[in-house]
Amino acid sequence: MKNEYGREIPRPHPVPDEFALAMAYVPWQKFEKLYDDLDKAYQYGTIFPELNKPFTGRRCVS
């Protein structure tokens, strides 16, 4: 589907029922809530709590 500028509109792709081997998938981000405190968001480096994944020295926070 194209917009009025003739550009393809990105849309969430249907999740394949099972994932093919050797392919990488990135889940589509859904708009949840933003950090209210922009000061804190600025220090975290994101306004999206679900993208706030500090490195803990061993593995990332999921």
């Binding site: 509109i9 990105p10 981000q29 708009f31 922009l38 968001a41 600025y42 994101t46």
Partner: protein
Amino acid sequence: MNQKEQMLRDIGIVSFALVDLALYLDTHPNDCKAMEYFNHYNRIYHQLVKDFSQNYYPLMLTGAESGKEWRWGAAPLPWEGVCG
């Protein structure tokens, strides 16, 4: 941190949030809630920049309404240690 530095910091923080929202909106162009947030913070950003220009000096050439004196030229230059 005085009022001027605080305002500069706030302008930086709001524009950071705008960039983050823009990154999301690039892939979700029809997300109304995200657009509402963008418009909200965008209004705040423009108000802050306008207030800063009136209280201190213009941050951008386009915000440099000058009366008698050419205010853009009078503004301190970034390498003159004003960025904190």
